[in-house]
């Protein structure tokens, strides 16, 4: 049963991703990306990473995609205004991406030769994650706060209109 779930969610994710790339209307691209995120969240649940699944939906689909939508609306990109690349370039793009995929698969294959550790139900649950985060990864946590500060300041500064 799980295998089937995995397959369905996987196909769903790949198809949505492809539509993101090939959709003509930018707004449609954004919507397909949201769909992809949902599919991936489903995969997370399959892996017992419950907290991350929810966070994925809230942060990515809820916040980041909304931001994208705001920008697209602001720039008024509803219609298809963008000229296409030449066919040669598109071909090269596909070939390059394909190459990358092949190489990646080749390099990561055989990783399951490592033994599977005894399964613990708690991995992926929020208490466990919280403990690990605030014990072992406290410094990166704090530093990421500074990162957010910088990003905020940067975004505000860049967005300001020049006072002529």
């Amino acid at each position: 049963m799980t295998v089937y779930l995995f397959m369905i969610l996987g196909v769903f994710a790949v198809l949505s991703a492809l539509m993101v790339v090939f959709a003509k209307n930018p707004v449609h691209s954004i919507l397909y990306l949201v769909l992809t995120f949902f599919a991936i969240a489903g995969e997370y649940i399959l892996l017992n990473a419950q907290f991350l699944a929810i966070v994925n939906i809230i942060v990515y689909a809820g916040a980041i995609m909304v931001l994208f939508l705001f920008v697209v609306m602001l720039l008024n990109l509803n219609e298809e205004t963008e000229p296409h690349k030449s066919t040669l370039k598109k071909l090269i793009a596909v070939v390059a991406a394909g190459l990358l995929m092949v190489v990646l698969v080749g390099s990561l294959k055989g990783a399951d030769n490592m033994s599977i550790q005894p399964f613990s139900h708690n991995t992926g649950l929020i208490e466990n994650l919280g403990t690990v985060l605030f014990h072992d990864f406290l410094l990166p946590f704090e530093v990421s706060a500074i990162l957010f500060l910088a990003a905020m300041v940067g975004a505000v500064m860049l967005g300001k209109k020049d006072i002529k």
Binding site: K89, A93, A96, L99, L100, V103, L104, G106, S107
Partner: protein, 628 residues
């Protein structure tokens, strides 16, 4: 007392530093007094040293200098009879010339700098004679060459004076190369350049040793440059471009005698090498005659004296070459007296005539410049070798030793003496006797006391200075020979013994006096009785006269043989090697860099998608190669 001796060079050095640093701020009178005082103090200390020298040499070590590997040298001074005589000459005559310069350079704007340079020169000369190793002597040697350059080109706004200064320096350098090679060979042979190491070791060597011959010949090349012997003498007449006190101090009394000092100091090395002695004597006597022939025809008062100096230096080398070391040193001393006097007297004449130097425009000055005339007359009598003046004793001793060793040299020396007397009296008669041939607007006047008193003192020394060297054959005790004997003992032991007896000496002296008197009478005949006056510049001269007047065209020959080819070579190197080759390499490096960057710039298209594609392909490649 001996400890104070080490201070002798440092008073003039202090004078140089003070005058050099404060030269714009000091008034002229203060500068002059300071310069003369430093010399006076050095002279007093030198006098004290001279009185207390006992015949043994004494070394004063100042400071270590180099000490690495097997090579070490230190700053050490040596005091022995030879160096103490030279100290007296340098500081004594130097002091008189400084006093004279106070008057001579009084109106010059660079007055203070002049005294600074003079003091520096005296410092280096003192280092030269007080050094106890060849290396330290070389320091002084180079230093006096430098000061000579500074002082000859003192009035540097005139290009020909600059050229003369450069010529002096460059010719000196050629000699210095030989000197330096000699020092290097000394190091190789003896392991050190100190006198107290070399000379005892040298005593054990065989006569005729080839290494010693090479060393002495190379050292003599240095002496040829510094003491203006053939072929490196042409700088000295041109050096008359400098102020007259410079000519008196440097080119008559002190610097040019550095070569004599060096050969005398290396007496034992030369005694071990008969070939070198012969070469020294030969070049000395040939130079003596050669320069005397040129001096017969010159019309510039200072040029006559310059060629006379070259000639007298030739006599000194002749003396060294035949083994009469102390006679040569004696002649150095008397020559310092009368040649400095001659130059200072010439300066007095030039000063009195407001700059006139051509003897064709002089004449009858003995009434207008009486003191100058009398002192000049005494000096002329001394240089001609008339007894009882000093020049007679010293020159005759050289000639007697020359007769004992090589009759031909003696004969040439006699011819030189004859010519010396002739041209010196020619000079005297043309300048001071007869009627005045110059510009009537110039009012000839005697020089002030500050200039005439040194003249008088030098005249007294020229007259009585010979009495320290009266030979036994005339009843004297030859004090100077006894004084210098400890220094030259080891050298004279090696030389073959001479056999001239007293009677032969008296005969030789009589011949000399007769010949000289004959020359003087001949000069009297030409220039007083027949009132002959040298021809003007444009006049056509007989071929021999022309050859002598144009100094045998030696300068022109050097120009064509040496200077022009060197110029051509340097032009070639500049235009071909420098511009094309070396610059080409540098430019090619630049062009290669440009070319490579021209190719590399195609990577930076500015297209974002090109960059993205490049990134993706690079990542794929990296992972791929990691897999391999």
């Amino acid at each position: 007392m001996m400890q104070f001796a080490a201070l002798i060079p440092f008073f003039p050095l202090a004078g140089f530093i003070i005058l050099g640093l404060l030269n714009k701020k000091l008034p002229k009178s203060a500068a002059g007094i300071l310069a003369c005082t430093t010399l006076l103090i050095s002279f007093i200390i030198s006098l004290a040293v001279f009185m207390s020298i006992s015949g043994q040499s004494q070394e004063i070590q100042l400071a270590p200098w180099i000490d690495m590997g097997g090579f070490s040298a230190s700053f050490t001074f040596l005091l022995d009879p030879l160096s103490s005589i030279f100290l007296m000459i340098i500081t004594g005559v130097g002091f008189l010339i400084h006093v004279y310069s106070v008057g001579y350079m009084h109106d010059d704007e660079k007055h203070n700098i002049f005294f600074a340079y003079l003091n520096l020169f005296v410092f280096f000369m003192l280092v030269l004679v007080m050094a106890s190793s060849y290396l330290l002597m070389f320091v002084g040697w180079e230093g006096v060459g430098l000061c000579s350059y500074l002082l000859i080109g003192f009035w540097f706004k005139n290009k020909s004076y600059n050229d003369a200064a450069k010529k002096a320096f460059i010719m000196n350098r050629i000699g210095d190369l030989g000197f330096l090679l000699g020092i290097i060979l000394l190091f190789i042979t003896f392991g050190s350049s100190d006198y107290h190491t070399i000379f005892p070791k040298a005593q054990g060597l065989m006569s005729g040793n080839t290494m010693i011959t090479a060393i002495t010949l190379l050292l003599f090349v240095g002496a040829m440059g510094k003491s203006a012997q053939i072929p490196l003498y042409t700088w000295l007449p041109d050096a008359m471009a400098g102020p007259t006190p410079v000519s008196a101090l440097i080119h008559a009394a002190t610097m040019v005698t550095a070569g004599i000092y060096m050969v005398a100091r290396s007496g034992i090395l030369y005694a071990l090498s008969p070939v070198s002695m012969y070469v020294v004597a030969l070049i000395g006597v040939v130079t003596a005659v050669f320069a005397a022939t040129i001096a017969l025809t010159q019309n510039d008062i200072k040029k006559v004296l310059a060629y006379s100096t070259v000639s007298q230096l030739g006599y000194m080398f002749l003396g060294l070459g035949v083994g009469a070391f102390s006679a040569s040193v004696f002649h150095v001393m008397t020559h310092a007296f009368f040649k400095a006097l001659l130059f200072l007297g010439a300066g007095s004449v030039i000063h009195g005539l407001s700059g006139e130097q051509d003897i064709r425009n002089m004449g009858g000055l003995r009434k207008k410049l009486p003191i100058t005339f009398i002192t000049f007359l005494l000096a002329t009598l001394a240089i001609s070798g008339i007894p009882p003046f000093s020049g007679f004793f010293s020159k005759d001793e050289i000639l007697i030793h020359a007769f004992a060793s090589n009759k031909l040299f003696w004969a040439l020396g006699m011819i030189g003496s004859m010519m010396t007397a002739f041209y010196m009296f020619r000079l005297l008669f043309l300048v001071f006797f007869g009627t005045y041939r110059g510009d009537d607007k110039i009012h000839a006047h005697e020089s002030p006391a500050v200039m005439t008193i040194p003249l008088i003192i030098l005249a007294i020394l020229s007259t009585i200075g010979g009495f320290v060297g009266v030979p036994e054959s005339l009843g004297g005790t030859s004090q100077i020979n006894k004084f210098l004997d400890p220094v030259f003992q080891s050298a004279t032991k090696i030389l073959p013994a001479e056999g001239a007896s007293s009677i032969s000496e008296m005969t030789l002296m009589s011949i000399t006096i007769a010949v000289v008197l004959g020359s003087i009478l001949l000069a009297w005949y030409f220039y007083i009785s027949r009132k002959k006056v040298p021809l003007a510049e444009e006049a056509k001269l007989s071929p021999i006269h022309n050859l002598l007047y144009r100094k045998y065209y030696v300068d022109e020959i050097y120009n064509a043989l040496i200077t022009k080819p060197l110029d051509k070579i340097s032009d070639f190197l500049d235009s071909i090697v420098e511009s094309k080759f070396i610059d080409g390499i540098v430019n090619a490096t630049g062009k290669v860099t440009e070319g490579v960057s021209g190719l590399m710039k195609f990577v930076q298209t500015g297209n974002v998608d090109f960059y993205l594609l490049a990134m993706v392909i690079s990542v794929a490649c990296i992972i791929f190669f990691k897999l391999m």
